[in-house]
């Protein structure tokens, strides 16, 4: 069964450093998402991406965040200058034109 692949599985970074979280969505999917989950809390929407541009972003997705689909297969989330409160699990998801969302296993980001 096709999977959404995320790397790395765990990333530790110092506060103020830039991080890039990587995702390989399912190849025939058209819509791409990043969600995050702070420990013990619900999964929160960050951003959606379609046709090489952001469709929608949440209040969390401020100027420190950016997304890119540089080569038609990878979908990346960049945090320019990490803060302690950015520590969370970050999930990538993709879907086809209908409702079929598929989530990756996540990247655990720890900011120290």
């Amino acid at each position: 069964e096709p999977e959404v692949t995320q790397t790395p599985s765990h990333q530790v970074t110092q506060m103020g450093q830039e991080v890039i979280l990587r995702c390989v969505p399912i190849s025939n999917h058209l819509y791409f998402y990043w969600y995050r989950q702070i420990l013990g809390q619900k999964v929160e929407f960050l951003v959606s991406f379609y046709n090489n541009e952001i469709s929608e972003k949440s209040e969390i997705f401020d100027d420190q965040f950016s997304v890119e689909r540089p080569d038609g297969s990878n979908f990346t989330l960049k945090i320019r200058s990490t803060k302690l409160e950015d520590s969370a699990m970050y999930f990538c998801a993709s879907r086809t034109g209908d409702y079929g969302y598929t989530f990756g296993s996540g990247t655990r980001l720890t900011v120290v």
Binding site: Y31, Y33, F45, S48, S55, E56, Y99, Y101, F103
Partner: protein
């Protein structure tokens, strides 16, 4: 504001019993609902979904019920097994083409006693 929420934070059931997990949603325009299971350190795993033009859908050992009148969603797990122990999330989707996205409720922990 719009929200999706769960009534109970934890649920403990005896192995072999049936489990019922409930969820309330507030956006009456949502057209699609999904139940996810999340095991420790993993991403949300699809269990079952239902579209708003249905009120019941059955899978293998799982049933989802949708009551649009009271904006209520439930997940029934038959003959609960230890492997069912996890956090369960309901999520709603508001169809808006490219702007469609899922909104998740707070998770409920299901604990299965042997």
């Amino acid at each position: 504001g719009e929200s999706v929420g769960l009534h109970l934070p934890t649920l403990s059931v005896q192995e072999g019993d049936n489990s019922i997990i409930n969820c309330a949603y507030s956006n009456s325009a949502s057209d699609y609902f999904i139940w996810y299971k999340q095991e420790s350190g993993k991403g949300p795993q699809f269990i079952i979904d239902i579209r708003s033009n249905m009120d019941k859908r059955q899978g293998q050992r799982v049933t989802v019920l949708l009551n649009k009148t009271v904006k209520h969603l439930s997940l029934q797990i038959a003959a609960t097994q230890p492997g069912d122990s996890a956090v369960y999330f309901c999520a709603e989707n508001l169809w808006a083409g490219a702007n469609s996205k899922l909104t998740f409720g707070k998770g409920i922990t299901l604990s299965v006693r042997p």
